[in-house]
Amino acid sequence: MNFDINTIVYILEIIVGGLLVGIGVHFVPVGGAPAAMAQASGIGTGTVQLAAGSGLTGLLAAGLMMSVTDNLWLILASGAVGAGIMIGSTMLTGSWIYAYAVGVPFASAKVNFDPITGFSQPPYVAPGTVGQGIPTVCFTSGMIGGMMGGLGGAMIYYPLYLINGNAALSAMFAIGIFLVNAVIASWNIQGTIEGFHDPKFKKWPFAFKACAIASILLAIASVLITGGA
């Protein structure tokens, strides 16, 4: 096990990957249980669940790309795009249900005007709720968050595979590091967040510090693992 400049680069890549996962979780609009009842805007599921689902789909795409090429940028891009497609399909089909089955217009109660489209929000918020559906700002924020998660997952997988050359070992390791960072970031969010326009988003530096500490410990453990004789 030779400890040289490459190892430092790998450790940094794993840490950056973990940070991308942690901060990406803050972008995904998660409404939790209330959103599933059209009581809050965002996707109606848990933070960790959605982050894990999308980020690991990106990891699948990146794993396939890494078996045929060595180009870092292609692998990262395919991880990001894979996760982006998954989150996009999720949010789009969720919008169908909100618009046609429940019959509600999309609105968020956290802002008065949508930052991207300029649509007004309060007249379209149902009484007794804090918004419903997935307005354009939440959709875009979710897309960014999903792609960051996929990018982070691919960036964790890449150095691990180069160190130990074993796809299954690197995959399980990447899943483990991904889940630890996603759960710590979700603790920071305390359950629900609407995206980068939500006032809760300003808490991201805490998650940055927390994920950095956890990722450093995990990265040091990861680079010391061999791939077996």
């Binding site: 096990m1 848990g46 399980m172 899943i175 603790w187 359950g191 004789a229």
Partner: protein, 275 residues
Amino acid sequence: MSLGGAAGGAPSAYDPKKLRMYGLVGSVVGIYIGAILNSALDTNLFSFIGAVAAIFAVVMGANAVRRVCAYGIGTGVPSIGMLALGMGIIAVMFGLSMAETLGSVLLGPIIILIYAGVFGYVVGVIANKVIKFNIPVMEEGNADLSMAGAMAILGWSFAVSGSLGYVNILNDVLMTGYIAIIFIAGGLAILHPFNANLGPDEKQDRTLVNAIMVSGLAMIATGIAAIATQGLAAGLLQLVIGFAIWFYFFKMFYRLVKRDASAVVGTGLLPPTVQ
């Protein structure tokens, strides 16, 4: 998943320190006995002891989930289970690889335990100081969870592979993909008991019996896996013992349900409301 119902500080009939000691000692001693017996007698038949050792670790983990989640951390029970398993798998791989590099296979469980305990404690400190949860049991609860997850994964990996050597575990458990079922069955074994018994009248013994019952199911799964990696005899032995554990503890769970529920009826209309 739902958070309603549990107040801060779940009542315990069994002291958490005792459960932690039983869990750690039971799982570590069990894995060592299985490993030594397997290598001394050059056989595979004692791998099932690893799966039984994992049950001790799962009970400790399920109790830790009870204590931490009772404070309402805002993200629900499933994330805690996933965290425990994420921490556990990294600790297991790191410990086994280190033991291989240092030369002695039997050092593995000790290194895993130390790394898992330290890392879990650090995550608990991060939660309390950086994210500012200020939950009293967070540090030791997280350390408990991390060690429980690591020991459970190690126990089941040993049950599937039959030896503690790093290369054996890599070939039998990781390259075949069986690590995935160990990971998710272990995670659900730790988080399902508290989640499935959530409510104001949750009783600790019913929750822990549920944990043992789910571990029996996981042992059936590792038994099926062991048929491929260790041959029909060792695999069927694990399968049968796992089925027996599951059956016995499911009946005990049902008996506790009849004790605790307000009524268990064959059929009926809506019960009279309280308010």
